[in-house]
Amino acid sequence: MAKDEFREFRLVGTRPDRPDGLDKVTGRARYGADISAPGMLWGAVVRSPHAHARIVKIDTSKAEALSGVKAVVTRADFPTGLTGDEWDLQENTMAGDKALYDGHAVAAVAATSKLRAEEAARLIEVEYEVLPHVIDVDDAIKPDAPVIREGAADATVPEGMPPNVVRYFEHGRGDLDAGFAEADLVRENTYRTEATHQGYIEPHACLGQLGEDGKGEMWVCTQGHWFIRKMCADVLGLEKSQLRVTPSEIGGGFGGKTTIFMEPLSLALSRKAGGRPVKIVMSRSEVLRATGPTASASMDVKIGMKKDGTLTAGRAEFRMQGGAFWGAPVDMALDCAFAAYKLPAVMHIGYDVLANRPKAAAYRAPGSPMAACAVESLIDEMCRELGLDPMEVRLKNAVREGDRSSYGPKFKSIGLVETLEATKAHPNFSAPLGPNQGRGIASGFWFNHGGETSVTIALSEDGTVTVSAGTPDIGGSRASIALMTAETLGIPYENVRVNIVETGALGVNEPTHGSRATFATGKAAVEAANAAIKEMCRRAAVEWGIDPEAVEWVDGAAQPAGPNAGKFPPMSIAEIAGNMGSTGGPISGHHEGNLGGVGASFGCHVVDVEVDPETGRTTILRYLVVQDAGRAIHPAYVEGQYQGGAAQGIGWALNEGYVYGEDGRLQNSVFLDYRVPVASDLPMIDTVIVEVPNPGHPFGVRGVGETGITPPLPAIANAIHAATGARLRHLPMNPPSVLAAIKAVKGG
């Protein structure tokens, strides 16, 4: 671990119990589906069984006639005239003229019990005219593919492109031809990854209430309740401030809970049911069919390499479908593709393509895992061909501080080289391997994000502190925020309570996306604590009758700054708090802004696999994650992010993936067939936290949540190649495809 110029910390870097631990191990913590309200109704959603169909007629009369049914809504109950993203959200919430994918909502009902609501939903008769559909991205981009929506392309798409291309990207720098000409080896291959789902264990759930007066409330599991508020208000034509959204505890999100799905339906139903609150809880198969999985990708990558491993040029052409709406993360995938490498010439081309699938949502480092899968695989293949050590090639070409990134800006302080060196030094990197075993390595990258953040810190009468934060605690962030606040204030960790507050209590906070909770909320909490310290010093100064500038804050107390300021014993935070009523009233600190100073995070993974040559089944023997955290505030939760990201990446690499039938319907909408890793599939996941501090954060934090899902895809492909001699370029690398690849190698 790199030493740095930062001071020694009292709390940062320790591993105290998380503040919400007790609630979460006793079953007391309230998640999305755990809240009920007086007069509550249950909602159920009618969903399209077709991938693409015109909605001819919806007959709700039988459902409405059922006793206990209080409201039925269809698209006719929503305001018209929306455009752009707002229209997309509304259309995805409830289909209009056409159902655009299997699972697309077409109607919803509210009734006095869950079973009654489900019965009523079955009584709603929808007449469809089934249309030709398209699922695969390479089919969807064909000029004669079924057209999902005319006129959906934005201004980036040149004239004459196939109809389902809705965004087009093209950017690069340097002389690509000269770069390839200079190389000793130029290779180009196509790689494909399937759509996967975040697979959070908690299904979406909300309880919404909306009156005739347009005032409403919602309780919901979300990564960002201000986003929920804005999106619901947009879709329903409400005033944003009239909607009060309170986040529940959240059972995982990974990006998938940064947007809306059925939330507006609960409000629309409530309004129609005379303002009675309506609870909607998705089933697992609704989650898989109708929330936002990630995009599927088809990617051409071309790289030039010299005999000594120097990279001379890279070209990436990515096609991605993100469902029936724009939003596949092609742009981010392209930007991540070559981010770990110094490249004199680079070209990026991308197509965002519509298909008859659910609207993609963010999933942990959106786009980056696919890009890494392609680029890191090809680099490994080329290293083999040239007989080079893939680690040395990565080190040789690694970007460092001051280098121009492949996507444009110059890198500030980054820790790629430190990460690679730490990987090399780990025992897993040189552990012996047996027959049918192989080792793979790969790097990964994520930008991280700051964004809109608003935090308030309030001093209680006894000198303890509450932090009002706006980012739901999805993986221990209360602990990190409390640590940073307590560190700044010089008080015990236990004296800080972090509350995740509702939308009325703070200005806008972006969701927990971009690995930003510890970075941005933490940074704002530190600034808010500093503001409170300033005020506490001022109170002490008034008491002592000295200049506030002459007071400093040390170890949780105000004290005169040096002998010239006067001789007073330190005044503790508890004393200041105890007297605050008479010294000027409540003391709080607040900080808000659109926070910059993010630090990108690089990681490197090493995986050892064993492949059964007769069945193609891959077993993960050893797994190592090395990643630059900048600073690990609570190292246990940093390790947890590394391990969790790796596990999701392993699932994506080996067995996860949306499977569609000929009819365009999702075939694997339960966990029995949507195969996320189970405990017996994985070994312990070793971690090394590299700390190259981010100068843009008071404690040096970079985001840590996302980078970890990026390297597993190519690392495992590289390891399987090492174990079997077979290269898989299409994920998932499930047993049938691995066995087929092994046989193809043996056969010739």
């Binding site: 489900e118 079955r122 089933s283 198969s285 007769e614 069945t615 193609g616 089944r617 080996l654 067995n655 499977v659 075939q667 694997n668 339960v670 966990f671 029995l672 067939d673 195969r675 890793p677 189970v678 017996s680 599939d681 499930n734 047993p735 049938p736 066995l739 087929a740």
Partner: protein, 288 residues
């Protein structure tokens, strides 16, 4: 949905015989509840069998065979030492069904009557030569297990008929059985291919054999031509290869979300070779 807690098999049979809508028996419920929840099957009459006397019993019969009650959950089979000693292959098949939680509920009979070609508990029973005791409006009969599956989700049981127990023959000397399935993960998957083999040895030579395959045809089925290859052999490499080829040849699988036809065909042969070895070792006294 009407729920009936039947007290006897005859009562259960008579409720089922009289019912005019969709009828399901409730054993462990691990298929029934999933189908209910998914809206696939909402029975009009649900007949719970767990209140019938003796359904929780595992009984050693006078002839040395075994009778397994229709409500015995998988975990209880696994905990029964004497049964495991006699029929490890039958037990290991059932124990592969689902998770620890599912094992607390799921039954062999439910596994059989759900009619899945991929049922893990069934190939072992078929290879063992087990029979089902059936109660129906016309009284009682016994039929071999392999005659019960009739295609995905279907059985040959007539309206009003149900299984009252499963019987395993006496193990006898020199016997060994085993079951393996292929799944992509280590747990919590439905079999992509499965194979059970039951054999008997005298010295090193196999004298009797039954080979059953699962998940590679519309029903779980016996492969007599594969069994014949084993008889008279000492499971040398050539026999094992021939066995694998015969089992693969007998497979007639579909391609679906769980695996391709080609893959299933090949892997069921691989499994047969591995399973034969385990059964053979067990028959020769290695009980692991």
């Amino acid at each position: 949905m009407r729920y009936h807690a039947a007290k006897t098999f005859e009562e259960a049979a008579s409720i089922a015989a009289k019912a005019d809508g969709v009828t399901r028996f409730l054993a462990g419920g691990t298929d029934v509840l999933v189908q209910l929840r998914a809206g696939l099957v909402t029975p009009d009459d649900l007949i719970d069998l767990k209140h019938i006397d003796g359904v929780q019993d595992i009984t050693r019969l006078d002839d040395g065979g075994w009778e397994i009650g229709v409500a015995v959950a998988g975990a209880r089979l696994g905990a029964h030492e004497a049964l495991c000693a006699d029929w490890p292959g039958v037990v290991e098949g059932m124990e592969l069904v689902g998770s620890t939680q599912v094992q607390g509920r799921a039954t062999l009979t439910g596994n059989l009557c759900n009619g899945s070609p991929a049922a893990d508990g069934v190939p072992g029973l078929v290879a063992a030569g087990a029979v089902a005791k059936i109660v129906g409006p016309d009284g009682m009969r016994e039929i071999p297990i392999e005659e019960i599956p009739a295609g995905p989700g279907k059985t040959t049981l007539a309206k009003g008929e149900l299984i009252a127990a499963v019987r395993l023959p006496a193990r006898g000397a020199g016997g060994g059985d085993a079951y393996q399935r292929f799944i992509p993960r280590t747990e919590m998957d439905i079999a992509v291919a499965g194979c059970a083999i039951n054999l008997r040895v005298e010295g090193d030579t196999i004298t009797e054999a039954r080979v059953a395959i699962g998940a590679v045809a519309p029903t779980i089925r016996l492969v007599p031509e594969a069994a014949e290859l084993l008889v008279g052999s000492t499971l040398d490499a050539a026999t094992a290869d021939a066995l694998a080829a015969a089992v693969s040849a007998a497979a007639n699988p579909i391609t679906d979300k769980r695996g391709t036809s080609e893959f299933r065909t090949e892997v069921v042969g691989v499994l047969a070779r591995r399973v034969a070895q385990t059964a053979y070792d067990r028959a020769k006294g290695d009980r692991s």
